[in-house]
């Protein structure tokens, strides 16, 4: 992460003026995902291009996977969308928006965006991935949002350090966790409001931002306009959108969304046998993953002794050190060439080649290794919520 100057801060606004308007709803087509009940209409929501619609209310929109081959940063209008509660403001005024900082602090604050602008500005490239990304591919299947692997994206996030805001408020010695709430609310008063918490030590880290820009322009409303929390290296459940309240707690948060939801098996594999109940912990850090982006599963490719395979890899912040590629379903592996290092939280591009002989079929796979030695399993580390998938994925191709 680096601190940025004023000029850069303002440059994004000029670029945004060129953006073109999309119709509010244009059903272009649909996509059949590789699992039962996987027919997804492509629907353009406000500020979004046509995306795979899982549900309209609350909106859950998946990025068409081909987008990941078109650049290392995911365009804002194709960035996945996931809300929990249906009471989402459809009109947000950044000039009147405030973030209330209360609880175990010496000076409660009501922070405006202008206030944020007085703090040092930072930017960081980071992957935002839903805990349930790839849940639809779980076997046996599990209930929940039935995503393929497009509930992720990589962007440059610009904002201020959460720590700098907390320093202004002054944490009391009793502070234990920091709880975040956004403008999203439940339709019923009996439904728990969506709130997420971080330990104080985590919250004070260099990389945790309150971001007002994504890829150099303001966040789309559906991605949390005007400000959202950025927790690089952790699943998006903590990246609270439309951030409106920061409450410093003197206890470990026991609200539904921390105590009951978004938990994974406590075992190191994060896995369990189907039908069993196991102790759980809150989901936190991203597992290492890699994907082939330029060839879709089931595609036909032209023959070539040096057929090019492109992809991406990422992890929870150790940084990607190696990607290996196989064209024979994992029997033999070759080293992929890594692309530019854009920071330890970013997508890392890679390329590999294989001998695509006419008429033959290939099972393409990639496996990434991170700086901490973590890698991807050969078989799915199954859990009953379909969280934290990182099994080696397979793309089957036929050569024409």
């Amino acid at each position: 992460m680096r601190e940025i100057g004023r000029r850069r801060f303002l440059a994004g606004s000029v670029a945004a003026l060129g953006a073109s308007a999309l119709p509010a709803r244009a059903v272009a087509d649909s996509v059949q995902l590789p699992f039962a009940n996987g027919d997804r209409p492509l629907v353009a929501f406000p500020q979004k291009r046509p995306m795979l619609m899982l549900t309209p209310r609350p909106p859950q929109l998946e990025t068409p996977f081909a987008v990941f081959d078109q650049g290392v940063y995911t365009p804002n209008d194709a960035f996945f969308v996931r809300w929990h509660l249906s009471n989402i403001p459809q009109q947000v005024d950044a000039t009147t928006h405030r973030i209330a900082v209360t609880g175990e602090v010496n000076r409660p604050l009501n922070v405006s965006l202008n206030d944020l602008a007085t703090l040092p500005q930072h930017e960081i490239a980071a992957v935002n991935q839903c805990s349930g990304n790839g849940r639809g591919l779980s076997s046996p299947r599990v209930a929940g949002g039935q995503w393929d692997n497009g509930a992720m994206g990589n962007a440059i996030w610009t904002g201020v350090r959460l720590r700098d805001v907390l320093d202004r408020a002054g944490l009391k010695s009793t502070a234990k966790q920091i709880q975040f709430d956004g403008l999203e609310g439940p339709a019923l008063p009996t439904t728990p409001d969506f709130r997420k918490s971080l330990d104080v030590d985590k919250a004070l880290g260099d990389d945790i931002l309150i971001a007002y820009a994504m890829n150099g322009v303001p966040l789309p409303l559906l991605n949390g306009y005007p400000v959202r929390l950025i927790v690089p290296g952790w699943y998006s459940t903590y990246w609270v959108k439309m951030l409106s309240a920061i409450t410093v707690l003197d206890h470990v948060d026991d609200n539904f969304w921390m105590k009951t939801a978004y938990r994974i098996p406590a075992a190191p594999c994060g896995c369990q046998a189907p039908g069993t109940k196991v102790p759980t912990v809150p989901i936190t850090r991203l597992n290492v993953r890699s994907f082939i982006t330029n060839i879709a599963d089931g595609a036909s490719v032209p023959s070539s002794p040096t057929a090019i395979v492109r992809g991406i890899a990422f992890d929870g912040g150790a940084g990607i050190t190696m990607v290996k590629f196989s064209s024979d379903g994992g029997a033999t592996w070759t080293m992929a060439t890594l692309g530019l290092d854009l920071g330890k939280y970013s997508f890392r591009e890679w390329t590999a080649r294989f001998n695509a002989e006419p008429g033959k079929q290939y099972a393409l796979q990639s496996v990434a290794t991170a700086e901490d030695g973590a890698t991807q399993p050969l078989t799915l580390a199954w859990n009953s919520s379909g969280y934290a998938r990182n099994v080696i994925e397979t793309v089957k191709v036929t050569v024409s």
Partner: protein, 116 residues
């Protein structure tokens, strides 16, 4: 570092008046009432609950909080699995479902998107 941050603070303070226009851009697909106000209209529910005994129970209870798509997106679930979902909605999410309607709703969901 300290010094640089102080300098940055001064620069930021000078540019304060420029912040509002910044946060007001990128209005593709949205309309702006004022510079920094983003207004969107989210689309209506894509589909409704299919016919069958219990349709009105589903319509009355489930759609308060979410579109029917949440049901049809799921893999086909068993009676036991649908019952677990219904009870989660009732107890964890506070759906105002009468105890006497639980069995009707579970049977309806199995009929809509269930398996043995």
């Amino acid at each position: 570092m300290k010094k640089y941050e102080r300098l940055s603070l001064v620069i930021a303070a000078c540019a304060l008046s420029l912040i509002a226009p910044l946060v007001a851009t990128n209005l593709a697909g949205a309309s702006a009432a004022t510079d920094a106000q983003v207004s969107v209209t989210l689309p209506p529910d894509a589909r409704s609950f299919g016919p069958g005994p219990g349709q009105s129970v589903a319509q009355a209870n489930c759609t308060i909080c979410h579109a029917a798509d949440y049901v049809y997106m799921q893999p086909a679930l068993t009676d036991v699995q649908w019952r677990a979902e219904v009870m989660k909605m009732k107890t964890a999410y506070g759906a105002p479902l009468n105890d006497s309607d639980v069995a009707t709703l579970v049977a309806y969901l199995v009929g809509q998107n269930g398996k043995k």
